[in-house]
Amino acid sequence: MPNSLQEVQLNAVQVKEMFLYVGEKVRENKPLLTKIDSAIGDGDHGIGMSVGFTKAEEGLRQKEFTTINDVFKTIGMSMISTMGGASGVIFGTFFIGGVKGLDPQEVLTLPLLAQILEGSVSSIKQRGKAERGDKTMIDALEPAVEGLKQSVIGNQSLLEGLKVAESLAEKGVEQTKEYVAKFGRAKALGERAIGHQDAGATTVWIMFTAMREWVENAINQE
């Protein structure tokens, strides 16, 4: 593996491309997300995420980007202003919460991604009032972000960090099967929600998988 791969960092255009790919992957999984959400939720998660990423794509394609902040903000605002539902606010906050108050950044490195997404986690928790174990997207996102932070400490590359995050997000999704839900329609199910995974957490996992894939493909094409 050539040295440059260890130090991969992305400019704003690449980050935009990466999230276009993430959107494509989430949209591809619309039937799966609908199915998961229909089992214990109200069945609209796949449709909502698909609408959100479609609008985010429109927003991303309309502009030239020089800062990472602007890419995140464009995606988040597109979601908040078009999706509705709990997902609109929560996934919009995923993108906006972490760049709020952040100085303009032109390159995305692993430490910066960890920092941004750490901000996302705290903003989402504040707004949605969810904690770990409540059977929400937090159950995948928080461990994934902790994985990113650990990778920063371990001096890992962006790709290595994303691999760790992806696998911890997947584990988080698995764990949601064991939880009773505290929010939304699934809450009314009580114990009957056990055995089913959370749709929002699944989306988080899909997003990390797609980010990892995009970075991996970009490196392989170098």
């Binding site: 039937p31 609908t34 199915k35 229909s38 109200d42 069945g43 609209d44 449709i47 909502g48 609408v51 479609t54 908040i80 202003s81 078009t82 999706m83 509705g84 539902g85 709990a86 997902s87 609109g88 606010v89 929560i90 707004r127 949605g128 929010f183 939304g184 329609r185 009314a188 199910l189 009957r192």
Partner: protein
């Protein structure tokens, strides 16, 4: 799933276009968002309701004289985004504040909550009353966690009348909160409704099964049982409802028997006949009875019964006229239902 639609992602926009094509004399769209407002707005507290689409005629059928001034519509079964709520509230605010009335669902609370913050920054005063009428959705000790279903109709009706009378935002909020606290509903599902564009049913109910207390989005209810005759089913629902609402002989109520989509008016009348009989036996006076499908979930089969416990104040507002293409209440004077 057979549905008369074009593109699943366009159903809300096209619903609004069709509604306005019919009723543009009285209503107009809010620019750039899925929202509709009354054309003849008055110098009074503005009432805004809304939520996910797919429950027509709720919520767009609730705008009108003596009702709501604006409605904010989300995607199918999903809360409207904050920007949408914000624009509708801004369009109807007459400087006297805006009262939001919507069903207590996580998504709605998040999105309306974010809109309230945006409106505060614009200097627009708002208050919120969450509709929590579904007695099957949480036990009495967690009453404030209950969801809103057909009770929206009564709560918006009372709020609209109070605002029309010229009360302040605080006063309108107070009486609207009271209306919600006096409104009790319970539903029963016989078959699911479909999400436009979905290829599978969101849940299933066997041909000979029903679920008592199921929510309008298929939220699980209290009990799944075999089908039963209308009277036995009505008795079962009323038993729970009367226990929850603590209604006593001599109390007065307004009644709504609400179809969930595909249950026929014939069936609803059969239910209402039984409701009238049971109330009479218990000495509870039905001040008014409404049999209609206001709060639906596409072609969902089943119905809900809503009771609004009336006192003199609520009765006055309930009796005030209200007019929209889908909800009409002539001014009620005297109680035709009383013996």
């Amino acid at each position: 799933m057979k549905k008369v639609i074009n593109n699943p992602e366009q159903v809300v926009e096209e619903t609004i276009e069709g509604f306005l094509a019919a009723y543009k004399r009285s209503y107009q769209k809010v620019e750039n968002v899925n929202g509709i407002v009354r054309r003849d707005r008055k110098d009074k507290v503005a009432i805004v309701t809304g939520g996910g689409s797919g429950h027509e005629p709720l919520f767009l059928g609730l705008i009108g004289e003596g009702l709501a001034d604006g409605v904010t519509l989300g995607n199918v079964f999903a809360a409207p985004p904050p920007t949408n709520v914000f624009e509708v509230a801004k369009a109807v605010d007459a400087g006297k504040g805006v009262l939001f009335i919507y069903g207590n669902y996580s998504g709605d609370v998040l999105n309306f909550g974010m809109a309230v913050e945006l409106l505060e920054m614009e200097g627009i005063t708002t208050n919120t009353v969450l509709v929590t009428d579904d007695v099957a959705s949480a036990p009495t000790e967690r009453k404030d966690e209950r969801r809103g279903i057909a009770g929206d109709i009564f709560v918006v009706k009372i709020a609209g009348a109070a605002a029309e009378k010229g009360l302040s935002l605080e006063e309108v909020t107070k009486v609207t909160q009271k209306a919600n606290d006096h409104t009790f509903s319970i539903g029963v599902a016989l078959a699911p409704g479909t999400i436009p564009g979905a290829t599978e049913l969101p849940y299933t109910l066997a041909d000979d099964e029903l679920e008592v207390g199921m929510g309008i989005h298929g939220e699980p209810g209290m009990e799944r049982t075999k089908m039963m005759p209308a009277d036995a089913l009505t008795d079962k629902l009323l038993e729970k409802l009367l226990a929850e609402s603590n209604l006593q002989s001599g109390d007065e109520v307004a009644v709504l028997v609400n179809g969930l989509g595909s249950t026929t008016l014939m069936e609803l009348f059969i239910v209402n006949r039984r409701v009238a009989k049971v109330l009479e036996e218990k000495g509870i006076q039905a001040y008014d009875m409404d049999v209609n499908s206001y709060c639906t979930t596409q072609e969902m089969a089943g119905f809900s019964i809503t009771l609004l416990k009336l006192d003199n104040e609520l009765k006055d507002y309930y009796s005030a006229p209200a007019v929209s293409p889908y909800y009409k209440k002539e001014s009620i004077g005297g109680n035709v239902y009383a013996k």
